[in-house]
Amino acid sequence: MILDYMPLIIMIVVGLIFGVSNIVLAENLGPKRSTRAKLSTYESGMEPVKTARERFTVKFYLVAMMFILFDIEIVFMYPWAVQFRELGYYGLSAMVLFMVLLFSGYLYVIKKGALKWD
């Protein structure tokens, strides 16, 4: 039983050894020269100006929700795509109907201005 998991265990052990050794070696062997630029939050030079924990506009929520709602519907196309030939015209017409319903919702979203940013 335990032998079935042997590859997994070896993988975990090797991963641990690799990760730990890299951190330890880098910590001990590398030279340390801290400068102000290196210690700042964004090394790219972007100045952090205020706290990150603040409220932001609700538009992000709207767009994210629209994305999830329309994105998740794609999942229903996978089973159809797998059985595309066997399902024939029945499957095709069902999928067309599904897309029409989805498109109708999409039209509604656009017309209501849910995706307008300004």
């Binding site: 029945y90 029409v100 319903l101 109708s104 039209l107 509604y108 656009i110 017309k111 209501k112």
Partner: protein, 477 residues
Amino acid sequence: MHIDFFGSLPLLVIWLALGAIGIAIQAFVRNNTRLVFGYYSGTLVITALLALITSAHKGTTFGGMISIGGFANYFDVLFCGAGLLAMFAARPYLQRENSELDEFYTMLVSAVSGMMLMAHANNLLVLFVGIELMSISFYIMAGFLRTNIRSIEAALKYFLLGAFATGFLVYGMSLIYGATGSLQYDVIASVIGENRSQFPTLLAIGAVFLAVALSFKIAAFPFHQWAPDVYEGSPTVVTAFMSTAGKAAAFSAFIAVFAVLMPASSLMTPQLQLMLAAVAAITMLVGNVTAVAQTNVKRMLAYSSIAHAGYLLMGIVANGEAGYSAITFYVTSYTFMQLGAFVVVGILERGNEENLQIDDYAGLAKREPVLAFIMAVFMFSLAGIPPFAGFFGKYLLFVAAIESGYTWLTIVAVVSSVVSAYFYLGLVVKMYFTEPHKEHSHVSPGLAGITLFVTVAVSIVLGLFTSQLLSIFGTWW
């Protein structure tokens, strides 16, 4: 795959009218509530007519996942009727609250289509989709008064507890699927009936989980705590709709699922029956006793609706044709009388929680004799007093429970009915035999008058057709 297009017409029509055309109309027509209202009431009328026309055409379609004809079509007509009545009541109510949006009617019709799917389900997956379609529409409708904190609070409570119950529902379904190897009702029924499940323990747990989730939807003890808050906080017309049609839909699913889970030959049937009997007894006692203590009419009616879930459960306990026919009859009369009672409350109510206390109904008979009379009819009918529909429904349920050997349950039901008469008749006494204690302006029901006329007529007349309806119901099971 063969599809019975004729038999599935009611479902196809309401989905296309809602999902494809209705949504597109709203995309292109702006703020034309009159058009949307007319369009959706037409949709409901046509769907109900199609359901009537196709009712004699029985069978299953879509690979056996959807059953058509008979029982399901009867419930279709009931849901469309209740939806239509709720729409008529909703228009004046929402206009008064300055919250009338096209989307309200969309959500209402979408809830109706979910209920129809529940009644037509012949497969656990279809049942799940139907329940969710109905529930998600209800969450939105409960919070429809967006600036009213009570409405939002009701929506949040309903949503969190409803989603929690959904978790139990699907977990129960997955266990039943694992134990029987199928989602189809007929396959599950034959596996259970012949006691040949591989995993009888999983099956029992799954059945209990399904009972828990459906008890939540009908607001039965101990899963009733959400109901008073949600029914009190939601807009009154929404409460009127979801406490009646929503409950009728949950019972249509309850009948179908428990006819599958409790075949007479199954070993676990007696235990399930006993469990449901205990739930029914406690539900009616808790509902009626707590209702006595209420001072808010909406909350009192909410507890009364919990108690009615208890009465209706007796029909499931009876586990047979008589019980199912009794439920179907009582849930019909309950839908009309409870919907009407809430609509009366909605007409008298003024924004900001005014006129919702029982004391505000003092002397209503002098100010609004017609409304008071209508409310009195609903109260008598809900209390189960003879000439009205509520009495015949209760009688059928009691007989069904006695015949299946649950005499003690019937005694509990009779006792709690007596308790319930106290607060129902208390309101009538308040309306007719006390003096008004403050000035009120005259109210005009508007379109809601149609709702009141129909509901009061059905509450009075339905009792006359008991035997005819029962003989129709008898042909379904």
